[in-house]
């Protein structure tokens, strides 16, 4: 036990002396949170909306005012006709337009039905869809305002509501993604490099010849990264809550428990990688290519898994981060308890056991 503590202390020296790795470790989540949170947001804010109001009646004016008061659009009423809009679209100065036909208000009041035209720039489909959704929402809200409680015949108003994220806060989905990615990177890459470095240095031989139990070498290597990863996880959580105003709905304790399990899974994979290679570069490359990229692609936070061909969906099942992502989303964003996530947790646990036993077994083979 005392020997183990001596060893863990040494590992912490290694980590803290390596300023660059430390910077990557704690800089990465900060950079990712800032990037995903502010720069790469899929929300549409302050977009210029070209409005042509050919009706100029009470209803159209009210709608335009409603749009102006939302934070999503800057209304541009300088265009006078359709041609001007089409030119602006071609030049790229306009990306969405709303056109009220003449007699809009009359149609609405007399026939109970009126039309508007929404034009969007389809070359940016995400933006286009978002704009249509926002405008539809505003129009729907307006309809309800002018005819409160009235059941209008022959009109179907689709009620859209984004569950769990009604404000449309785009930070929500990627926070669990960043967690998975950062923990994966830190645990897998750094652990595998830490073990392989001892082999490169020749110190592994010394350790194996010493009375120190080989399995304790692995344990001692893993402990500092477990601690640092938990610190890292806390950092991401704090950033998410205080910088991006994400509300943690579920149990924090459960979050930490599941994350610890995921961290152990990643550490085991890191140790597994370190057993199969003898150079730090190979170890780094393996953990990057083998773990980082699948984590990015197959976790479901960047690209929806449902749209992938079945073969890729199959691959996604063996990516630990995919399960962790689901669990974190369920607990953090939906506030669900353990009874809802036990299946995913069991899968993670299974992966951990498999990776760890392979790592331990290979480590023993080296000795015989």
């Amino acid at each position: 036990m005392k020997q183990l503590l001596v060893f863990i202390r040494k590992e912490f020296f290694h980590v803290f002396r390596d300023k660059r790795t430390l910077l990557i470790m704690f800089g990465l989540p900060v950079v990712q949170i800032v990037l995903f949170g502010f720069a790469l947001t899929s929300e549409v804010k302050n977009i210029t909306l070209t409005v042509i109001d050919q009706a100029r009646d009470v209803n159209s004016t009210q709608i335009i005012n409603k749009i102006k008061s939302s934070s999503y659009f800057i209304v541009d009423e300088s265009a006078i006709n359709y041609d001007a809009v089409s030119t602006a679209f071609k030049k790229g100065t306009a990306r969405c337009a709303l056109i009220f036909p003449a007699g809009f208000g009359n149609d609405l009041q007399d026939a109970g039905q009126a039309q508007v035209q929404i034009l969007t720039d389809g070359s940016d489909p995400n933006m286009a869809k978002t704009v249509i959704n926002y405008l539809t929402a505003i129009l729907t809200a307006y309809q309800q305002e002018i005819s409160p409680g009235a059941q209008l015949p022959y009109r179907i108003i689709p009620e859209q509501r984004m569950l769990y994220n009604e404000e449309g806060n785009g930070s929500l989905n990627f926070i669990p993604g960043v967690m998975a990615l950062v923990l994966m990177l830190v645990c897998t890459a750094l652990t595998s490099v830490a073990v392989v470095r001892e082999k490169e240095l020749g110190t592994m031989e010394i350790l194996l010849v010493s009375p120190f139990k080989p399995l304790l070498v692995l344990l001692a290597k893993a402990v500092p990264y477990l601690v640092l990863s938990l610190a890292n996880f806390t950092l991401i959580l704090v950033l998410a809550v205080f910088v991006l105003h994400v509300e943690v709905k579920g149990s924090i304790l459960l979050l930490f428990l599941v994350s610890t399990l995921f961290i152990i899974a990643c550490l085991s994979i890191g140790l597994m990688i370190s057993n199969t290679t003898n150079s730090q570069q190979t170890a780094l490359l393996l953990s990057m290519m083998g773990m980082m990229i699948p984590t990015l692609i197959f976790t479901g936070f960047m690209f929806p898994l449902e749209n992938m061909p079945w073969i890729f969906q199959m691959i996604s099942y063996v990516v630990p981060a995919r399960w962790y992502f689901l669990v974190i989303k369920a607990v953090m964003l939906k506030g669900l308890g353990f009874s809802y996530i036990w299946k995913e947790t069991a899968v993670l646990l299974g992966m951990t056991v498999v990776a760890l036993s392979i790592a331990l077994k290979n480590f023993k083979i080296r000795l015989s």
Partner: protein, 248 residues
């Protein structure tokens, strides 16, 4: 009877499939002796050494190290030996003191004991000024001396040196051998493999391994006389010429 024999090998054999890496070797090493283990690459030196260090099991034969059986008492063997490899083997980003404390701790020495010995060692090596410096900043010769000192820090009965002086200049090598003599004088048995034939001359006795077998075992003087050679280099050449393994 075996009181002064710290390593005893009888018909020790290690086989990997069809390949007999170590072929029925027998020898013994006396306490306080500097025992040279020579052989071309692939002659089976490393395999034999790994068995004696408790890193691998022999296929057949008997061997005891420091009185412990290589089959059953590997843990006890490990406690009683020191090891230093051809690769420089201290942590570059730990200080001199931290390295000493780490390896002392791994061998289970108590903290006060480590501190006492560490102070003595640092001043003996003349590294008092550098004790708080990272090992990476020291010149290679000093690192090597420190690595050897760390290998015998826990007072092992035997220290195994696997080509300890690779890549070191002749003067440092000479100084390194002074340290080996000093250690041997305190009763530590030194088991050393080397490529340098001039170093072989420094050993009390030498084993020359060829194709997994012990071809010769004697003092350097006797070997030279027997093969009518002027230097160990010639002796080695005569013995190793018949080797078949280096061909493949």
């Amino acid at each position: 009877m075996n009181d002064d024999k710290v390593i005893v090998c009888e018909e020790l054999t290690k086989q990997f499939g069809d390949f007999v890496a170590v072929n029925h070797i027998s020898f013994d090493v006396r306490k306080g002796e500097i025992f040279g283990f020579l052989g071309a690459n692939g002659a089976g030196k490393t395999t034999a050494m790994r068995i004696l260090c408790g890193l691998s099991y022999p296929s057949s034969g008997k061997a005891t190290v420091a009185g412990f059986d290589v089959y059953k008492q590997q843990e006890s063997i490990k406690k009683n030996i020191g090891y230093m490899s051809q690769k420089f083997s201290l942590y570059e980003n730990l200080t001199v003191t931290e390295n000493i404390e780490f390896f002392g701790g791994v061998y289970g020495l108590s903290r006060p004991e480590i501190r006492k010995r560490s102070d003595r060692l640092v001043s003996k090596l003349g590294l008092t000024q550098e004790a708080k410096k990272l090992v990476g900043s020291l010149p290679l010769g000093w690192k090597q001396k420190l690595a050897f000192s760390v290998a015998i820090f826990h007072d092992p009965q035997i220290v195994f040196l696997d080509e300890p002086t690779g890549g070191v200049d002749p003067i440092t090598r000479r100084q390194f051998w002074d340290m080996i003599y000093e250690a041997a004088a305190t009763g530590i048995t030194v088991f050393v493999t080397t490529h340098y034939m001039d170093e072989a001359e420094y050993c009390n006795r030498i084993t020359v391994m060829v194709d997994g077998k012990v071809e010769a075992l004697d003092t350097p003087g006797n070997l030279k006389a027997r093969y009518q050679a002027a230097s160990m280099d010639e002796v080695f050449y005569q013995l190793a010429r018949g080797a078949k393994r280096s061909a493949d």
